[in-house]
Structures are given as C-alpha cells and as structure tokens.
C-alpha cells in the first residue's frame, strides 16, 4: 500500500470483436497494476485473451473488428484510451515497446537490421541517420549479438531465429522504454536459445530497470522472470499473486491445472507426460452463466455453474482468486 501511484494502472478493461457470428467478448473487466521496474506475467492458454490485453495496452487492436469497449489505462497519470492517435504514436516504441512471439516473421524482410532499429530512434529521439545507426550498433552490443557491425547491414533472412529475437529486443529497447511488453518472447525458439533469451531479458531488467509485462503460457518462463503473476481465463482475470505464492499455493483449479502442465526441471519429454487440462476454452460469443472454467473443472460444484465467482483476497495480502472453492484448494487434500 505505497502512496506512490503505480506506473501503469489498467482498470476494468473490456475488448470486443465483431465477427460474422456475433460479438466476442475477448477481454472483460480486466484490471492490473504494474510498478516501475517490476515484471508482471500474464498467463493463460492461447485464446484466453492475454495477447489482446497486450495489444489493447498499445492501442493496436485492429478496429474494425476489434474495439476497446470499457475501462481505462492510466500510464503516468494519463489515460491512454483518451489520447489521440498522434499522441499514441509518440508513446509507442518510446515509452511502451513491444516484442513479439515470432521473431522470424516480425522483422520486415526487405529492410536491413540497422534501418529497422534506427527508424524508431530517428522517429522518437529526433536524431539523424548516422546517430540512429550508432544507437543501433550500441543496442546490438547490448543484446550480445555476435559480430554486431556486420549485422547492421544484413537482412532478417540472413539471421537465425535467436538472432532475430535479439534484434527484436534491441529494437524494442532502442528508445529506453519504461515498459517492455513481451508477448511469448521465447515460444517460437529452440530450447537452448530460449534459455539464452530469458537470460538476456533477465539481464536487461537488472541493468535498465525496465518494467516488463510478460505474456506467456509457459510457467517455466514465469518462474524465471516474473515478480507477480496474473492468470487469465476466457477473457477474465481469475487469479493474481506474487510469483512464489502462486507457484506454491495456487487457489484456482485452472492455475493448478497449468502447474500440472508445466514440465518439471530435468524431466525428459519421453519419461513424463504433461497433465493436460481436459476440454477447450469456451466460446466467448454468449455471456457465460457461472464460472467459465466450470465445464472443465474437476472441483466444480453446482454453484459454480450458476453463479460467477468474484475475485476474493486469499490468505496472502496480495493473493486474489476467483473461485468458490479456493479455500478448499488451500488444503491440498481433496
């Protein structure tokens, strides 16, 4: 309960998509806070709305079909949802930068590395091309890319996936943003490269003090990087806690399921089968009566199907979960 307002305060955010079959509520009543230098992980399956949340923060939801329908996004006291597109452009890449899941397709194939890193620098810091190029080189050194001078004039197709992701990170950090949104930064990479990129992000966090909003489905990544974790299901936040609390005593069956699906360290793929959560993410076309996870939940009782649980504070002061049976989960006997 510090008096200082958080760096980013998202309140009651709602995002809808118009489709041929009706309106999809991709994100509902979504709230979170992010302090300077903090790393918050948003965890969920694909289709849960976690990437929508990241794009909404950047105001990069394609409209149409998407629309931010409710809520506010306070960044340094300003509501991003009330800014003009031009004001938003000044913010994007400069204050809030983003790295994406697919490094190979996220770099423009017809522009050189120097051009792609340098253009954001030129745009936001109003420097000339030579200075932007110098900055690009600096950034490539920061992300520990081999032979940085040579890389400047190369094209993405001449780089490997891991190298592309380093370039992406260099690009995102070139204007020293206060918030870095990382959408599945390691998912598309080989396991060994994944570890290297995680180390790099960790290192950057320590050195630059950038706040990170980490979007992932991988609790291994969360354990490595995050300070706090927020679990999202069917467009709603269902649990939020400091990382250790969440990993050790989850209070929502869905989180428990995700933990079961997390490969243990040292386990090879052949020896341990991942516990999968049965069923699929429900359609967000119609309003869901009760808890959205109930149909897949082995703990579900009658009340879960009729009445939607609200977020309630759990034992730990910063631990919230939206489950009728969260107290039962606290004693792992059931």
């Amino acid at each position: 309960m510090s008096a200082k307002p958080p760096l980013l305060q998202v309140s009651n955010l709602g995002v809808t998509f118009r489709t041929e079959h009706g309106t999809v509520r991709a994100l509902q009543d979504f709230s979170y806070e992010l302090d300077a230098g903090e790393t918050l992980a948003i965890v969920g399956e694909s289709g849960s709305g976690k990437s929508v949340g990241a794009l909404a923060l950047m105001r990069l939801i394609n409209d149409p079909p998407g629309r931010i329908s409710d809520g506010s996004i306070l960044y340094e006291g300003r509501d991003l949802l009330t800014l003009s597109e031009a004001q938003m452009q000044q913010l994007r890449g400069n204050d809030i930068a983003m790295i994406f899941q697919e490094p190979m397709t996220s770099l423009n194939p017809v522009l050189t590395v120097a051009e792609q890193i340098g253009e954001a620098v030129q745009l936001h810091q109003k420097v000339d091309a030579a200075a932007a190029r110098n900055r690009a080189l600096e950034m490539l050194q920061l992300v520990q890319l081999s032979e940085p001078e040579r890389r400047l004039d190369q094209y993405p197709h001449e780089l490997s996936g891991g190298m592309c992701q380093r370039v992406m990170i260099a690009m995102a950090l070139a204007c020293t943003p206060t918030i870095l949104v990382a959408d599945e930064p390691t998912t598309a990479l080989d396991v060994t490269i994944q570890a290297q990129i995680l180390d790099l992000i960790h290192d950057i966090k320590q050195r630059l003090g950038t706040a990170i909003l980490l979007i992932t489905h991988d609790l291994g990544v969360v354990a490595e990087l995050a300070d706090r974790v927020l679990v999202i299901y069917a467009g709603r936040k269902i649990e939020e806690a400091p990382v250790r609390t969440l990993l050790q005593s989850p209070r929502h069956p869905y989180t428990l399921g995700l933990l079961g699906a997390m490969p243990r360290l040292g386990a090879t793929k052949d020896s341990t089968r991942l516990t999968e959560i049965p069923g699929i993410v429900p359609s967000l076309l119609e309003p869901i009566a009760g808890c959205a996870f109930a149909p897949r939940c082995s703990f579900a009782v009658e009340r879960c199907r009729t009445e939607a649980p609200q977020l309630r504070q759990q034992g730990d002061a910063k631990h919230y979960a939206a489950c009728w049976r969260s107290d039962d989960l606290a004693q792992p006997t059931t």
Partner: protein, 313 residues
C-alpha cells in the same frame, strides 16, 4: 547482377525468335490464299500475282524466312506494299506520339492505382475499398473507346477546355503538347489503373496481415509510414509484375486511342495498314510492339532485386 542481367537478356532471344517465327509463319499457315485476300475483292489475277511476289510468297518458306530474318536482324522490316517505303522508316516517324502516349498513360495509371489500391487494402471492407473495387471492375469492362468518347463529350464538347483530337509534337511547345495528350492518356490510364489497383490491393492485403506490420506500428510509426515504407516495398514485386503485364493492355489501347483521338502514332499506322491491306507494315508493327513488351518485362524481372533482398541473382 551483371551476369544475371546478361543471362536474362540472353533468355529473351529465344522468345523473340519464336515471336518472329510466329509472325512470319502466319502468312504461310493461314488457310486460303493470303495474297488474294490482301489484294482485295476488285483485284485482277495480275494484281494478286504482283502482290504475291512483293510478299515473297512465290519463294519456298525457308528461303523467304532466311531473307526476312536476315533483314530483321539488321533493322530491315521490309517494304510497305502501299507507300513502297521501308517499314522501319514508317515506324520511326510514328514513334514519338506513341511513346508520349504510352508513358503518360502508364504514369497516370500508376498515379491512380497505387493510392487507390493501398487505401482499399488498408481500409478493406470499408467504403473506399468498395468504391475503389467497383471502379476497378468497371475499368475492366468499359472499352477504352467508350471511355474516350465520354471524356471527349465532357471536356471537349461540353466544357470546351480541351481539344477534341489531334497531336502536337513536344517540340511545338509543352502546353499544346500536354493539352492534346491529356484526354487520350487519361482514357488509357484509367483502364490500366483498374488492373493495377486490383493487384495492388491484393498484394497489400497479404502484406498487411504480416507480423512485421504490427511490429512497425508498435514502434510508433504513423499509418502512412507503415503503408509506404514497410508494406509497399514488400508488396512491390507483384505490383511491378502487373505493371509489366498491363503493358500489353496498353499496347492494344494505344491502337484504339490513337484512332479515336486521331494521333499519328504506331497505332494509327496499324489501323491505316489494316485499311490498306498493307501486311508488311502490320508485321513490322507487331514485331516492334512485341519486342517492346518483352523488353519491358525483362526490366520488370531485373527490378525485383531492388525491392526484395531475398531474390538473389
């Protein structure tokens, strides 16, 4: 790059050779007696015979082809049956208006089509998109001469701000040159713009769905910059390809437009040759136009490397 250019240049030789063979063989392959058809209905047997000798139809195919191709390689396209002047001279005389018309039409087409296609793709499904694509289908469907007459009716007959027809060489002043050129170039340009706009839209649509477009937006670039710097360069290859292809449309259009606007260019030369049954001239014009088309598409091929670094020579 140089080696690639040379290779591509050499690859056009067989295509040109085949074009030459086709154009030449038509005289021999068509059923009936081409000399009799070309001489016209009132011709006497002696007239037909004279024409047969003038066209070289009295000689064996290979002998005649050898002579003809030997001449073509040296720039001798034969002699007009009507004016008895070398076809090459007739063509060179008529070159300026046609080049002016073609270049102007192409510029107009690209100037209309690119913005239209880009905006239609960016706002796909929106009003601009629908209007632009309706315009494109209409552009395919309205013949050049109908459009030409509509434009003449509007700008020359009703508004009286542009001349009805004719051509003024550029040497006689840029003002009169342009005022005579603008309507024909506009008619031809609009029709070609339809095709180019459609392909531009399709190519841009594909590119705009790519991840790197969203990344560029996330960097804080304006929509304009994203479209023109990041998207257009990626969509460039299909667009320049269709511009090359549209050149064929342009050539057909030149023949018609020059007729409507009474422009003394190659198209007009063709139409006069048709009326006078002057086959050597028709043959020569076809060769020149086809060669130009092949060269334009060669240039298009060579330009790919400028837009896409992944294309290796």
């Amino acid at each position: 790059m140089l080696a690639f250019t040379m290779r591509r240049l050499l690859a056009t030789v067989p295509v040109m050779a085949i074009v030459a063979i086709i154009v030449f063989s038509l005289l021999y392959l068509t059923p009936g007696d081409p000399a009799a058809v070309l001489a016209g209905e009132q011709a006497t047997a002696a007239d037909i015979e004279r024409l047969r000798i003038a066209l070289g139809l009295d000689q064996p195919f290979l002998t005649r082809f050898g002579q003809w191709i030997g001449g073509v390689v040296q720039g001798d396209l034969g002699t007009s049956v009507f004016s008895r002047r070398p076809v090459m001279d007739l063509i060179i005389q008529r070159l300026e208006p046609t080049i002016a018309l073609t270049v102007a039409s192409l510029l107009i087409a690209v100037a209309i089509a690119l913005p239209l296609g880009i905006i239609a793709a960016w706002r796909s499904g929106g009003i601009v998109d629908r209007v632009a694509m309706s315009f494109a289908v209409l552009g395919f469907s309205v013949p050049v001469f109908v459009l030409s007459y509509l434009l003449i009716m509007l700008f020359s007959v009703e508004l009286k701000i542009l001349p009805v027809q004719g051509y003024v060489p550029i040497a006689y002043g840029i003002g009169p040159f342009l005022s005579h050129l603008i309507l024909p170039a506009l008619s031809l340009g609009i029709v070609n713009a339809a095709l180019i706009a459609r392909i531009t839209r399709a190519a841009m649509l594909e590119v705009l769905n790519q991840d790197y477009i969203r990344v560029a937006r996330a960097k804080g670039l304006s929509v304009r910059k994203v479209l023109l710097k990041h998207a257009l360069k990626n969509a460039a290859v299909p667009i320049v390809t269709v511009i090359g292809i549209s050149f064929a449309l342009l050539i057909s259009g030149v023949v018609v437009t020059e007729t409507v606007f009474n422009i003394p260019g190659l198209g007009r030369l063709t139409v006069d040759a048709i009326l006078r049954r002057d086959y050597p001239v028709i043959q020569g014009v076809i060769l020149v136009f086809s060669a130009t088309y092949v060269v334009v598409n060669l240039l298009v091929d060579l330009s790919y490397g400028l837009f896409d670094p992944r294309i290796k020579y």
